[in-house]
């Protein structure tokens, strides 16, 4: 590998090259830093870049390897993360103005796991204010811009995670997903994003948007990269009582099963909050056809009406967000973007009984979904975002009001948020480009704790296609 190509390699290739001592972690880190220098002005993906600290960390990782100590399959790999994962004593803004100078009292469990695995930290990434917003707008720190077309949105709320992985500035990044916030930026930026089963990954030490719906997960360039990263961060955590004690499978070892004989349900819903655009539908159909050629049995499935499920999610988010933000909303409301503050306010007026019923309904929604759309199939294939990516300007709810803009923004999460309510795993994988040259993402949805199945299908798909190999210029 030549040094100027290093940043373009994927995570597993770099990790394996470092492990075999064909390259050093310092070389990989320098390659990422050079890439950041070139792409940060175009994307605004980073809020803070830790150049010296990252190089020192990489040097330490190289020294450990030279001394015969390996920390595992991510040893020496440079990454950066959404600026909502706490690191004790360090800044953590949550994308907000309110916490612009705030320092975290603890380190997030997932960062601790990545530290133990030898990951090098290049810095922290842009995000929607307090993880509230599906587009990547941020009035406090500047909007994040899509590496494929800087006039277009990145998706959110993990905007910097999508943009930095898409632009090859980092090999992997943590995002978080309350209504689509990993899968939307993954789809919009042409990368892979996993929202695993609720309880699979610890939320301890991460800024909450909604305790009941938040999911922590990785964004990477390939499915294999993603499987490796999830394998490191998943698992039970005594600091997050909602985590599961189910053993974490070796996702990477399970990738190669192929799709021959697997049953995949294809859903092209046209009755969600936003109608399905024809070119997006064609890209998803083409992905289904590709999986069919690999031996999967693809059949059409109909999704249940998600309206009640979507509204129940809104009740949970608004009530929980209103409760946690109340002190700031009372004392310093002007420090919020208007659209962030106003989206929470209804939470003060929803009766507690309705909030509790929304929580109680989830069990029924899961049972209904598994016995209908997922009955007899191993995974459901559907779009991540149902329309071509709009521009930053046309979705700017802070400067452009009106029902049409609000409807378009709400339409982003129409096909993602239901799976947060259901808590089941959902993977976004690049599957083409729209007529504007912006990426399109497919979404694979599976049974609870069946992340391995989604990775297996996604990996087979990437083995037969090249969408994920394209790099923005």
């Amino acid at each position: 590998m030549r040094n100027d190509d290093l940043a373009l390699e994927d995570l597993t290739a770099i990790a394996d090259a470092i492990a075999a001592r064909r390259i050093t972690s310092v070389e990989a880190t320098e390659a990422c830093l050079a890439r950041i220098e070139a792409w940060q002005p175009r994307t605004n993906a980073f809020l803070r870049i830790y150049r010296d600290k990252a190089l020192a960390q990489a040097k330490a990782m190289d020294a450990e390897l030279a001394a015969g100590k390996s920390r595992g399959p991510l040893h020496g790999v440079p990454m950066a993360h959404k600026d909502m994962y706490y690191r004790k004593g360090e800044l953590s803004t949550g994308g907000s103005a309110i916490r612009r100078d705030w320092r975290a009292p603890v380190t997030a469990t997932v960062l601790g796991k990545l530290d133990a695995a030898g990951v090098v930290e290049l810095g922290f990434l842009n995000m929607a204010e307090f993880a509230a917003g599906p587009t990547g707008h941020n009035v406090h720190h500047g909007h994040c811009r899509n590496p494929w077309d800087q006039t277009r949105v990145t998706g959110g709320s993990s905007s910097g995670s999508g943009a930095s992985v898409g632009a090859r500035m980092v090999y992997g990044a943590l995002g978080s997903d309350t209504g689509g916030s990993i899968r939307l930026p993954a789809a919009a930026c042409g990368v892979v994003g996993m929202k695993a089963t609720y309880g699979r990954v610890s939320r301890a030490g991460a800024v909450a948007r909604s305790w009941s719906l938040d999911h922590v997960g990785p964004l990477t360039r390939t499915v294999r990269d993603n499987a490796r990263m999830l394998g490191v961060i998943a698992g039970h955590d005594p600091d997050d009582s909602t985590t599961s004690d189910k053993p974490v499978p070796d996702y990477e070892a399970l990738l190669e099963g192929g799709v021959a004989g697997l049953r995949i349900g294809l859903a092209l819903p046209n009755d969600g909050p936003a109608p399905l655009d024809a070119q997006i539908g064609a890209a998803i159909q083409a992905a289904a056809d590709a999986l069919g050629r690999l031996g999967a049995k693809v059949s059409t499935v109909t999704l249940p009406d998600f309206t009640a499920l979507y509204r129940a999610a809104e009740v949970m988010v608004k009530c929980e967000a209103a409760a946690m933000h109340r002190p700031w909303m009372e004392k310093t409301p002007e420090l919020y973007a208007n659209q962030v503050r106003t989206r929470m306010e209804a939470g003060f007026f929803i009766p507690a009984t309705q909030y509790i019923d929304a929580l109680r309904l989830r069990t029924h929604f899961v049972t209904e979904f598994l016995s209908t759309a997922m009955d007899g199939v191993d995974a459901v294939l559907l779009p991540a975002i149902p329309f071509p990516l709009p521009t930053i300007e046309e979705t700017d709810t802070e400067t452009k009001g009106g029902p049409a803009v609000l409807k378009m923004v709400a339409g982003f999460t129409g096909l993602t948020r239901p799976f947060n309510t259901l808590g089941i795993p959902a993977l976004s994988v690049p599957c083409g480009f729209d007529s504007n040259g912006a990426p399109i993402g497919l979404q694979l949805v599976g049974r609870p704790f069946d992340e391995a199945m989604l990775y297996r299908i996604g990996h087979a798909y990437q083995g037969a296609t090249e969408h994920h190999l394209k790099v923005p210029v």
Partner: protein
């Protein structure tokens, strides 16, 4: 929503804001909030009436995910 019902809902939200939550909003915002709350409230109430019974426990959500796990 007809005007009279809308007015009643807005008055209710205004009462909660001032009387229970210690918050103040202008009339326009109170009307917007009333409309938003009505949509969410009605959707959950209807879904709950169709599905929920006495023994439904929010904590069953984690159990159903574990029980339905493929692995």
């Amino acid at each position: 929503m007809d005007d009279k019902r809308m007015h009643e809902k807005t008055k209710t939200v205004a009462g909660i804001a001032a009387g229970l939550q210690g918050m103040t909003y202008d009339d326009k915002r109170l009307a917007e909030l009333a409309a938003e709350v009505e949509i969410l409230n009605d959707a959950v109430r209807k879904a709950a009436a169709q599905r929920l019974s006495f023994d439904d426990d929010p904590a069953a959500f984690a159990s159903i995910l574990a029980k339905e796990a493929r692995t």
